[in-house]
Amino acid sequence: MKTKSLIFLAVSLLITVAFLSNNAFAQKKPGPWEVPAKYKTMKNPVKTTDADATASGKALYAKHCKSCHGSKGLGDGPKAAGLKTSSGDFSGAAFQSQTDGELFYKTSFGRDEMPAYDKKVPDEADRWSMVNYMRSLKK
């Protein structure tokens, strides 16, 4: 009888821990992100027809963004599971409906778990090329 009770207790504990940990590690959806008006309307100076800039945007995305956002922008990079906040889906309409300026602002200055890239990618044109690459991930 004692053994049965112990097994029951252990199984109940395991289920409780599993349930709690599942809740504890569940990722939050990102909250609203206010972008200053100045950036919202900013025009992207880098043309998508510029082959060098396109290659550059792709390489910079691979180096700086892919580990969280995934190679196709689906938010499934190897580091994504460890984040408290979901890293989003770049291929979807919600992401793609943002202006280039909004994406540039968020890439440049970051917030919370999303790092700022204004110092890691100091050249503005390079950051605009990254925005162009994010556009190419649209489905």
Binding site: A55, A59, A62, K63, H64, S67, K119, K120, D123
Partner: protein, 317 residues
């Protein structure tokens, strides 16, 4: 002598190639005018195996560097090709005071070197190639922190100092290929004296003293070839040169040997990992130029190579 001629020829070819690139670039400038922004960094971090690169991270960046060299591969599987052998390790911290100046400190296991570094980016290659190369000055001042007894009977604190000065000339050909040529000058305030037994003409065994020069001129070549956005093949050669004009003592049997290295680099947003095989364990450039594999033979042997790795981590403030 042959070696010297070869090095001068290689340097001349590189200079000519760079001049041709500049001429081609000026011809290609379109109606929008030249793009004179600095080119993207030629290398992924401030280190290229045992060499420095022209890379100075942006102002207020802290860089933490871990350098590890395993033992030589000569014992084969018995010590897992040196992995269980005697290692050398350096831990370093560098900080970018401006976009062009980086200062650093480091501590190394071998000879308990404590070192201070400064790197100054004099010239940056432009995207239009109106400036075809990056030119960077690098200085490392090392302090040998071993016990006083190591320095002989007339010890002075100044004996502990060694200096390495280098001009790093880099050209980034495209997103894939970068090359650097770096002449250097190494000075040790104090160099050891070795005593060995030799037979004189009468067949008697006598002591022979070997003295080592305090100065060494060297040249280094380094390159990177990217094979994917995050992975590159990296290679380097450090050649200590025997220059008659600065020599103090007769040429000894023990000459510092070249450091030849080949490896793979994987870089991420804030890290660079380099795993390689090299023929110098010193980590500090002055140690490699002055004292690499002094064993009385002229040839660099396969058994003198070792595995090693570098890791760098960047923080922006």
């Amino acid at each position: 002598m042959k070696n010297k001629n070869m090095i001068f020829r290689i340097s001349a070819i590189i200079t000519m190639a760079l001049m041709m690139i500049q001429a081609a670039a000026s011809a290609q400038e379109d109606s929008l005018g030249p793009d004179n922004r600095p080119a993207k960094p030629a290398f992924e971090s401030g280190y290229l195996i045992d060499q420095q690169t022209s890379v100075v991270p942006i102002k207020n960046t802290l860089e933490f560097a871990i350098h590890h060299r395993f033992g030589t591969v000569e014992n084969g599987i018995s010590d897992l090709y040196g992995i269980y052998g005697a290692s050398n390790i350096r831990l370093g911290l560098n900080y970018s005071l401006t976009n062009n100046i980086q200062v650093g400190i480091g501590t190394t296991k071998l000879k308990k070197y404590q070192d201070v570094t400064i790197k100054y980016s004099i010239l940056k290659q432009s995207r239009s190639l109106s400036i075809p190369v990056s030119v960077t000055f690098f200085e490392n001042i090392g302090i040998d922190a071993r016990d006083e007894a190591v320095f002989g009977t007339q010890y002075k604190f100044s004996q502990r100092f060694s200096y390495f000065s280098q001009l790093i000339i880099t050209h980034r050909f495209d997103d894939m290929v970068s090359l650097q040529v770096s002449p250097s000058f190494t000075h040790y305030n104090w160099t050891d004296i070795q005593v060995q037994k030799i037979e004189n003409e009468a067949g008697e065994e006598v002591n022979d003293t070997i003295r080592f020069d305090h100065d060494k001129i060297g040249i280094s070549f380094g390159c990177r070839v990217k094979i994917s956005p995050q992975t590159s093949i990296i290679a380097g050669v450090d050649l200590p040169l025997w220059v008659d004009k600065i020599r103090e003592y007769p040429k000894p049997d023990q000459l510092s040997k070249p450091n030849i290295s080949l490896g793979v680099e994987i870089s991420t947003s804030t890290h660079a990992f380099q795993i390689f095989i090299a023929s110098a364990q010193g980590i500090l450039p002055q140690e490699n130029m002055m004292w690499n594999n002094l064993d009385g033979s002229d040839k660099l042997l396969i058994s003198q190579f070792m595995l090693g790795f570098n890791i760098t981590r960047l923080w922006n403030f």
